[in-house]
Amino acid sequence: MQAQQDLRGGPATEVGDQATGETDDVLVIGAGASGAVASWALARAGFAVTCLEQGGWMDPSAYTSDHDDWEYHRLRDHNPNPNVRRLPHDYPVVDVDTPIKPLLYNAVGGSTVLWSGHFPRFHPDDFRVRSLDGVAEDWPLTYAELAPYYERNDVMMGIAGRSGDPAHPPRSARQMPPVPLGAGGQRLAAGFDALGWHWWPADSAIATRPYRGRSACNSCGPCELGCPTGAKASVDVTHWPEALARGARLITGARVSEITTDAHGRATGAVYLDAEGVARHRRARAVIVAANAIGTSRLLLLSASPAHPEGLANRSGLVGRNLMHHPIATVTGVFDDLLDGYRGVTACSLMSMEFYGTDPDRDFVRGYKLQALRSHGPAVTALGGFGLDVPWGADHHRRHAELFARTASLTVTAEDLPDPGNRVTLDDRVTDAWGIPAPRLTYAVDDNSRRMLEHGIGSATQVMEAAGAREILVTPLLVQGGFHLMGTARMGDDPAHSVVDRWGRAHDCDNLFVVDGSTFVTGAAMNPTSTIQALALRTAEHLAAHGPTRAGARSRVA
């Protein structure tokens, strides 16, 4: 039992587990992409697992893509930027010192509620950039070690795609056929073909046929509003129902303020503030943090104690450091005919590996991915869409008429090399609604990434020209582009140069694990969710097999 101060300034409140006598085998913090996988895997293995999530359950019937004002919701209460959205369960992120703004979501399902479902794997070379290119660090594991976990997680998520991509190692047949390219994707594919450049239908966590109780995608477009049909694989749909059926417990509205430790520095559980702001302590034999690379490092830094004076598991000083995004540029082609890009999953059609990895003839190391994007509805188009220049005033309608439904875009997704100066710290002034210090981002796009983006813009421009675009519009750096959060508690074999080991276990705290993008050693140029989930599955199963003593209250489930 611990005495915790009500952080709103109320009286000290005695809270704890003694009333119920409960001690979890494993306490998971965060119910998003990685926390759901870990909770599911541990519950399936018979462990007593509880997950704390500061948001609540989403109600798909309340999603607003069937509302007349759906584009308003996309810009406001469903905006992926928490500083714009500002819902009661969000926390602010101080972002004045970063050109890339953070995008995330707080709910059961986490950011998979809002994502588009683009689901590429990392390439084998991405795990050994030090060996190949002499930069950053190698991962302490290989693609081959992770491949079985990718495969099994794919089955849970349900992947639409086409196996056989020559740019990647073989993988099993995809669960469903790929998301249709649509008119814009077909136009871009023709451009790639004319140049003789690689492209392939992208793996997408989108049901293109009915799959495990989920409906087939009806190509409505705004995945960011949440998917009312369940076609999109958000983990509140794919993992949580089975996790709960297997006995996992999920506590929503639980804002964790501290991971508690004993005199020896081992994790004992976590303090969270419930919806009324009352501090409660949940005891556990092991703790898994799955709160994304911003939220996780924030929480570890908040959890300083005599045994961990610089923050939990931070003897290396690397907690919060090496924050990586994917710096993104967009190149948009304007075509004469209607491409209807408001139809279909915005970010899922095709991708190109033509410029992936290092080429010594270029003035940068590593490489980038080109990924097709569709377009937007009429209001977001009017407000700029992907780099559009629609003025207000006398010329508004003419310009809108020539752009709306006539564009297709390519993103240049650049590999962002780790830099310890890019980091998450605790802000000394801004707090969330319960008085918990907000995370603060300090981040700069380095010269290597800028040269990479410049090269990518040139490549994408060639594709647009070959595809017949009559006008090409460029966004050199997507400001609202911090979808991918990585690196702030990186893994490695050397405790002096990493926070967690190859299994996600903290070097400084043997019953503390991290399973989100924080553990990434490098960021590749690939969307990270499939790799995050594969790693989370691997960590959870390792913990189940080799972790701290478990209660053994329930038998292992095959």
């Binding site: 004002d69 584009e71 810009l75 249709p180 649509g182 009429p378 207000w392 508004h396 008429a401 439904a405």
Partner: protein
């Protein structure tokens, strides 16, 4: 929420002028005032304190710029001047204006005719995308 719960009559009239500068009409598309868009915009602004504040900040800037040396109001030049002074407020009001404008049935009908854009929200019907 009624428009006059948020703005008084003078502010309401001034916002209607602002909206017509932002979104004037042309041969195909109606001006904001022809749609009575101001009430829609005020209703959207009333949902969030920051948007209500943005509307007030823009109107305040427009009024403060009504000096002898300022561009005459209503005009694009005057709104450009306001945009220099309170860019975030202008951006917010423009977002509300476009959301209201492009959700309006009259404008949807125009887009259906000129661009083949179905005059309805994306769900529940979704769209055909073909197999390619």
């Amino acid at each position: 929420m009624r428009a006059h719960d948020v703005l008084d009559e003078r502010e309401h009239a001034r916002l209607a002028e602002v909206l017509d500068v932002l979104l004037p009409g042309d041969a195909e598309r109606p001006a904001a005032s022809a749609l009575g868009l101001v009430d829609e915009v005020v209703a959207l602004a009333a949902r969030r304190e920051d948007d209500t504040a943005a509307v007030r900040a823009l109107l305040g800037e427009v009024d403060s710029g009504a000096s002898a040396s300022a561009p005459s109001w209503p005009s694009a030049a005057a709104l450009s001047r306001a945009e220099q002074a309170v860019p975030e407020a202008v951006r917010a009001v423009l977002q509300l204006a476009c959301c209201a404008y492009y959700a309006h049935p009259t404008v949807r009908d125009v887009l259906a005719r000129t661009h083949g854009y179905p005059p309805r929200p994306p769900q529940p019907l979704g769209y055909e995308l073909g197999a390619g």
